[in-house]
Subunit: 449 residues, 2 copies
């Protein structure tokens, strides 16, 4: 492995499609487009098939999917457009699957290549769009003209770099940089290295575009979309992912090397000594709902569980969320799953009349262990708790916890596990232990530089 | 018991000296003063004996001590004054004990009454004084003229009230209200009830005196001393004790009753259920040094142990200090005496260049359990700890802990106990459990009102 050297030829060879793959995809997409055209003609529908996505812009990686849109005239209703689009999709892929983004679409496989056939409306640049899907053909048209081959290679490097750090992709599960955003960045900075240099010293937000347009956005990353000047193309990027980018860029500058572009090696340098903490795993069977709807609810649930921990007196350390084809899972780590029998209960300031009712409430109560006493101008009691185990407190509060609209319905189907020997056997535990952002080469040779 | 009624006659009968005790003390103090006078004459020394303290001001409680000062002319040197004073003291009490405040003095017992014979210098009101002891005769002169019998009774009520709350006495161990301060308060408010009404609604500091004089003091309680207008007579009162007074006053107003003046009943309503916490007791044999020197050092030690707990990752709950004839003791209560094997270590913000060295330091270290990862713009690692038991961390850090000038010398002689079954047998544990401020009557009848 040449992880510790920079060898762009090696990188491109490894991650760009070879001549065989390119020719095969050109042939497949050409055939499908011709096929759609003739079907549209036969149906007398005013619409046009179009290859979109990274493939159409020349910035695709090895084994990428094909995205073919059918762009309908706006004279059709939404339903007419969707019905015709799905009909054609299923004619081409009789075994295909119906999927749902903003419009429904059909996904199929041809000669081992995954192909999505997506109906949308024709819109003009900077005109009111009907849905964000309709914008995609504009991105293709724009980017094809704007980039030369040199810039396409730089954009590919940036995409690989983002991918290595786990911050590539605008879906909510990742909240990262889309391929289109990477390309817009290269349009502005021309060279991958210039951008990395810039972002490694960046304080605060990443902003690209005229100030009179960018100033109305508050997101951590603001990049004006040239095909829709009122839109922030990078609205999906989270603050955490910008932070990861900044840090990774600093380390790339110290030691530019292949490591930062290569990502299918298994990282496993984890020290397996016990952490000595308490963990609990909350799991549901995944309902038939897409990632972009479930993932934000899982994150909300994780935040609300953190709040439950902290308000109940536990000491939260880490949380981790996993969403895969089978399960939705939340792993919570805290210092202990068991509270002291007593809690130190803070009352009002002594100068406040409420201090009287606070003292009255607990002075003769069975819950009183000790007090009242005064610290820093406030009244305190040491009180006995009713519940001391996290598991009990979790189930006692389960009706009050907001897991989000869809997951709330599954409160009765929660699988709760807090036996460490069981948790250690799960995949989420492995993922949690191995989680690392930024992803960095071994410190051993980092320190050599 | 008439705890829940207010019966002043009963209170005064119970706590004021009866005729027999008063006559006996007048006789004893008269005899001692005559005795001193004739000795001074014989020695040809220009000095005058004088009864001081609460006895001299008519505000003494039952079984109080006698304080007799010998007031020397300032023509003598400090050494001459002290030598002559001690000589006379030991002539009167050949079996007496030498004690040390600002000057040395002699303490003895006559017919069961404790008597202190204290030499000091004669000073005039509002003149530069040599030591605070010299001010005491001025307090006697001033207060005798300023108060009538009515006010003396009110002052006695206030002293009893303070005593009941454990905030009576200006020595550092108590940091409360001296008898003289109680009398000054009554001089201002005339009636005990007026003051309690006032203080129950007081926000912030308690200040008595002209603003141009009081404004230069920052203490929680400022009461200008009429015999030395540049002095705050209440400088000893801690903020915590003012808070206790405010709260107790609120409850007295709700239900004025004997409870607030009677204090030798044993309070023991403590629920004995286990607290489930970790406790450690640190103990030294008491060295031959006075309370006012040792007590602040014990408090300093307790604060520094709290800091050690918190910076090491433990969760401090309560601390308690005890100083008696035999021992100096600190009891620390925390959630657990054992830390997790890992700690979540916070690094610099990612935008800071230091984040690079932070990551380099731990990336390949044996201490790394997990990370780096980014939260709220900062880099974190989960690191393994070297030590996880409080006892080990305490002894590892013992040289660094500041216990105060005198106690630092006893670091080699610390007795450390953290077995709960042993701690449960100690007196400090009982005192800790029973500690209560403000002291309040049973909530049972409080709630009736």
């Amino acid at each position: 492995m040449k992880e510790d050297k920079l060898d762009l030829e090696y990188i491109f060879k490894r991650y760009l499609p070879d001549r065989f793959e390119r020719e095969k995809k050109e042939r497949i997409s050409g055939e499908i487009i011709e096929n759609i055209k003739s079907k549209l003609e036969k149906m007398g529908v005013e619409a046009e098939p179009m290859l979109v996505g990274s493939q159409s812009r020349g910035t695709e990686l090895k084994n990428s999917d094909l995205d073919i849109f059918i762009v309908f005239s706006t004279k059709y209703s939404r339903k007419e457009m969707e019905d015709a689009g799905m009909e054609i999709g299923f004619e081409i892929f009789p075994e295909g699957t119906a999927k749902y983004a903003e419009h429904p679409y059909v996904s199929g496989i041809m000669e081992g290549v995954k192909v999505d056939i997506v109906p949308c409306f024709r819109v003009e640049m900077n005109r009111k769009i009907i849905s964000s899907v309709d914008r995609t053909p504009l991105h293709t048209q724009f980017m094809r003209n704007a980039m030369d081959d040199e810039m396409r290679k730089e954009a590919i490097l940036l995409k690989l770099f983002m991918k290595r750090q786990g911050i590539y992709g605008s879906e909510l599960k990742t909240s990262g940089f889309s391929g289109y955003v990477c390309e817009l960045i290269i349009l502005k900075f021309k060279r991958f290295n210039s951008f990395i240099e810039y972002v490694s010293n960046l304080k605060g937000r990443l902003i690209i575009g005229d100030e009179d347009r960018t100033s109305k956005f508050n997101s951590p990353v603001v990049i004006i979309d040239p095909v829709d000047l009122g839109r922030n193309a990078a609205a999906a990027v989270s603050e955490g992912n910008l932070s990861i980018l900044k840090t990774a860029a600093k380390f790339y500058n110290l030691n530019p090397c292949n490591f930062f572009f290569t990502f299918d090696e298994k990282i496993d340098r984890i020290n397996r000594v016990e952490r000595g903490t308490y963990m609990c795993l909350i799991r549901w069977k995944r309902p038939d709902i897409i990632d972009d709807i479930l993932y934000p609810q899982l994150e909300l649930s994780e935040r609300n569980l953190k709040t439950l921990c902290e308000t109940s007196g536990f000491h939260y350390i880490n949380g981790y969320v996993n969403l895969d084809g089978e399960n939705m899972e939340i792993l919570i780590e805290m210092e202990s799953g068991h509270l002291n029998r007593i809690e130190k209960r803070e009352g009002p300031p002594v100068e406040n009349q409420n201090s009287i009712s606070f003292i009255r409430k607990y002075l003769d109560s069975d819950r009183r262990s000790r007090g009242p006493y005064v610290e820093n101008g406030r009244v305190y009691f040491d009180l006995f708790r009713d519940e001391t185990y996290f598991k009990d407190i979790f189930f006692k509060n389960i009706q009050k916890i907001n897991f989000g609209h869809n997951i709330n319905r599954l409160k009765g189907e929660i699988i709760f596990e807090d036996r460490l020997e069981k948790i250690r056997e799960t995949r989420i535990y492995e993922m949690f232990l191995n989680f690392q952002r930024p992803v960095l080469p071994s410190g051993e040779y980092l320190n050599k530089n």
